[in-house]
């Protein structure tokens, strides 16, 4: 398929790795988080900051467990990344802001073809 952007050999892209590629003129961050591959625009919807300089982590979630009880907080398995400029935080899978899903930045499919990681425009 035309337009796929090669990232590099999959065996050189282990968990924890990240890199930047250019997709249709836009800078896109590609991540391997615990073996899953994600690609997200490197431009925060807030002030255009470099989202992909952030550190991927599980989104923090809270659960109300009853009156008078401390809200139970934990890091979920949903992968998220926060822009280092002001902390706007996005779901790596959807590009949606964790606090307001009406705010979103582009995400891209990532495929491995013949041992090479590619981003689909």
């Amino acid at each position: 398929m035309t337009g796929r952007v090669p990232v590099g050999p999959v065996d050189e892209f282990p968990p924890g790795e990240r890199t930047l590629v250019t997709v249709e003129g836009r800078e896109v961050g590609v991540f391997n988080v615990d073996g899953e591959l994600y690609a997200i625009a490197n431009r925060c919807a807030h002030e255009g900051g470099p989202v992909c300089d952030g550190q991927p982590r599980g989104a923090l979630v809270g659960e109300y467990v009853g009156p008078g009880e401390r809200v139970r907080e934990s890091f979920s398995t949903a992968p998220a990344i926060a822009c280092p400029w002001h902390g706007w935080e996005y779901d790596l899978r959807t590009g949606r802001h964790l606090g307001d899903p009406s705010i979103a930045i582009p995400t891209y499919d990532v495929v491995v073809v013949d041992g090479v990681v590619h981003v689909e425009p």
């Binding site: 807030h46 989104a59 979630v61 009156p67 809200v71 802001h97 964790l98 606090g99 705010i103």
Partner: protein
Amino acid sequence: MLDRVVDPAEGIYTMVPAPYRDPEASVELIDRVGDEQGVVGVVFVTPGAEPPLGNRRYDVIYETAEAAGLPVVFHGGGASIDYFHLRGYEKFIETHTLGFMLNNAAQLTSLVVQGVPEKFPDLEVVFQESGVFWIATMMHRLDAEYLKRQSEAPLLRHRPSHYLRGFHYGTQPMEQPEDPAHLAALFDMIGGADRLLYASDYPHWDYDPPSVITKQPFLSDAEQAEILGGNAEAVFGI
């Protein structure tokens, strides 16, 4: 109060004053008188609440009010005779400009960030006696903070202004800009006329007559009727 003052036939209602420093006593009081004729809400006086009123220790009060179908009303306070944050002011106008608003803002911030509207989704929330312009400040300020640090308010499913547009607000003492268009923009910002409950505070020195509403050129007759009575009838079930 119930024997000699409250009289729904004459249009006189009251609220349970929650002694919230003792949450269990507050629950007992709501259980004891919350279903009496003419009791239509639970009121919290907002100065002096430590910890602030979003703290989980007050959950039982909100749970009880929600179950009883009683709105919770947060009533500002904080003029010169009260404990106040900013000591050293020399004129009453200085403390009165800020006190009521800051105390309500402090409690509203706590309520929203701690997720009270998500814990108790059927609880009606009203803030009163700090005017209307602060509401827009809180909406936009909370939204700006939340979008940068939403993990600190993990119970919220929407940005804070969404919840603020679900609350109701007493209008008094209503700010009246020289250009009514500015007030119209404010009303629009906070969710429209159905958020607002006319309050007089009569006979205090800064009371508002109904004309603060009826003279606004941008409000339709229907909107004026909502603010002057219809909204309160719906919120308080009267």
